[in-house]
Symmetry: C2
């Protein structure tokens, strides 16, 4: 890696108050590194360093700061400084920032923006959370169909400064309805005198403002797009989603799935920046639900109290049987949940998934049972019946766990529930209870208890 | 969504042998849709439809096909057709394809490429799997520092046709050493007569060919890059990673983490395309390991046989205690594993994570214990000692599970093991065993057994 960012050197200069030298080094840094640096400082230093940044970098750095650091800077800024920052921000970054600010600060910020910016920001603030509208930007390049390629390139060169991406240009009619798309690549490679409508692609992939941000991001990965147009109910172009925002959405959605699959309420904050109380609050509800289900399993166990009192050896196999069942079920549910997220599996594949899991679980179950039987015959010679009970239970537990694990996330999706909550912990609890019933019924049939 | 892709219509035309109409519709489709369509056909139809594709789309569609469909087409193709496809592919796509082909087919393909392409492909085939070198492309645009902006734009317009991305251009010296980067945006917005070296950014973020592909993708998301240059040991530019490939890497790495966290060997194939045997083979090893660990837990349970024979009620609380412990541990390990993958947590944060988990587990543990105690006092009035034993065990189990769950993935990373294998199933097994020991020791201390 070829970077000159060294936070220790910057901190050293700050400690020694070598502001002149610091300011010089700051002008040479990448804005993402600068934001990382500011996020690591305390309030006073963060405000101090932010003011040293070159004017043209300030808004870019500001957009990358954590909400906390943004608030410090907004609080310290004069109205004039604030107005400069906010008007330089892309609308989507401004909206992101405002969503994390207290109401009185939002008012002060909106007072310091231009009227056009204010009305755009207000419009964007109304799109629902996690919708394509909420992550789009309004700064895109639009062309008219009757422009020549040379005119289009001149237009881009004249207006591109304020556009978040110039690489994908959208062709619209006077009512702003989306007619086509022309990449800068297409324009640069076309002869100057051709018309935009001759070189543009008229099969445009777009989403409505209310579409799920995950759907927008998935379309972009599927088709390898750098930008995706967002349209209103009348197919008028209102914004674009850029690929960097799509990548953030993909990371965020995967993180949410990880959290839900580990029985937590999802959070958008990085772990180290989340308070102890908030972490606890996200974890307790599911643990409580699953604890209560665990009590039911205990109840089942209590029901067979007489059986294990007469043959305590049976109890020692319970952890292995229920753990293996839980693990076997989690494997299947994890694959199906991830397949659904990547659109590789659809709800209509339910029968195929069931049939596949049935066969996989047969292979896996037979092997695990055989290993178990062999091991028990070695450890407890002569107790063939007990070994058979454990081996049969293992087989049926794996069969049951894997089919339930594969099918439940799809069933959840079919009734519009989130498949990810059907993951490991819930499956484990269900499998625990059912495998105990299987275990004691097989034991009753084969053993004199 | 605004797409005209309708596989049913295409299939209908194919069934009716309306080839002329089919061919016409095919020219209007997105290449990703065309590849999806071909992947869904049987061998004969796939070859037939592929031959109907317009010449200029064939290579783009081919790059998106599954290895199986690619093989069908390679087998059916004449040497001339093969040579046309392979020479039109970007080098990274050609290498991807070759990695999945049998040796004799690889030979035939290489025989049908131009000598320059062949030597490039051979070079690329040598980069290790999952390295930046293995996903980079050789088709990038390079500029010289002494060109003017106008010359640079002319150069892009003249050579851009064969370049995978033209939006980020790299400035190199005669030895091909990387001097700087200039986006098409920068060039278009700069005055014609400026020199490239005056407008280029000379702080270039790059990776060596051997860098992990995940590291390359993470750098691109972190800095919002559309392309990342890959350099050899002498800082000579050998290729670039483009953002669409980075997005694939991010999805693939998240999928691998999902699989490992659910105790499976990772696979790169979609679930529905993986055979029953392959799925079983990926699942059995960890299930076996964990089953054997489960036997150890059973051994611990056997060790306390006397205790639970004298007080069978104690046994009924085991599933709830071990399940809750497992869930509490999985929550912590999932957050830390994901934080590590996103580079939000580093190995050096171990003490911070430990301290955070200790406090979170105290909050969570106290609440779960209290709920449990209250519930037991209602269900088993008078058995205060038993209720206390269960409540204390719950507290200590949650404390232990969460600190182990938070710290183990970091410890794994510190000794260069994969943190994701320290996830839910392994933690659950460890927590099961330890919580039983805690349970029976507290029971022995507080109860007359």
């Amino acid at each position: 890696m070829n970077r000159i960012y060294n936070p220790e050197v910057l901190k050293e200069l700050l400690r020694n108050r070598s502001y002149k030298e610091l300011r010089e080094i700051l002008t040479n840094q990448n804005e993402v590194d600068l934001a990382d640096f500011l996020n690591g400082l305390d309030r006073e230093d963060a405000v101090l360093v932010f003011r040293m940044l070159p004017k043209e970098a300030a808004a870019d750095v500001f957009a990358e700061l954590t909400p906390e650091t943004q608030q410090w800077i907004v609080h310290a800024a004069t109205d004039a400084e604030l107005s400069a920052i906010v008007n330089d921000l892309y609308v989507d970054d401004a909206v992101d920032m405002l969503e994390d600010m207290p109401a009185n600060v939002v008012k002060r910020i909106l007072r310091n923006t231009t009227p056009e910016n204010r009305s755009l920001i207000n419009q964007f603030l109304q799109y629902p959370d996690n919708s394509a509208g909420s992550i789009m930007t309004a700064e895109f390049t639009d062309l008219r169909p009757a422009m020549t390629v040379a005119q289009a390139i001149r237009h881009i060169r004249a207006t591109g400064e304020d556009r978040e991406t110039i690489y994908t240009c959208y062709v619209v009619d006077p009512q702003r309805r989306l007619l086509g798309v022309a990449s800068v690549r297409t324009l640069l490679l076309a002869p100057d005198e051709k018309l935009v409508q001759e070189v543009m692609e008229d099969q445009v992939i777009s989403v409505p403002t209310g579409a799920d941000q995950e759907e927008a991001a998935r379309l972009m990965t599927h088709y390898g797009l750098l930008a995706l147009p967002v349209v209103d109910g009348e197919n008028r172009l209102v914004g674009i989603v850029t690929v960097d925002d799509a990548m953030d959405v993909i990371d965020q959605e995967a993180t949410e799935d990880f959290e839900k699959m580990a029985a937590m309420a999802p959070s958008e904050k990085p772990y180290l920046k989340t308070s102890v109380w908030e972490l606890a609050r996200h974890r307790i509800p599911w643990l409580l639900v699953l604890m209560i289900s665990g009590m039911l399993t205990g109840g089942i166990l209590g029901h067979y109290e007489a059986a294990f009192a007469s043959m305590p050896l049976l109890v020692t196999f319970i952890p292995m049987l229920t753990d293996t069942g839980g693990n076997a079920g989690s494997q299947s549910s994890a694959l199906v949940i991830r397949g659904l997220a990547l659109h590789e599996i659809q709800v209509r594949d339910l029968a195929r998934v069931f049939w596949k899991e049935l066969r996989v679980s047969l292979v896996v179950g037979v092997i695990l049972s055989a290993v178990n039987f062999a091991r028990l015959m070695v450890s407890y010679p002569g107790q063939t019946a007990t070994a058979l009970v454990v081996a049969f239970t293992m087989l049926f537990t794996v069969l049951m766990a894997k089919t339930i694990g594969g099918v439940l996330p799809l069933a959840a999706k079919a009734v519009r529930m989130d498949p990810a909550i059907m993951a490991s912990p819930l499956i484990t609890t269900i499998v625990d209870a059912v495998s105990l019933v299987i275990y004691f019924n097989i034991a009753k049939a084969l053993l004199p208890i």
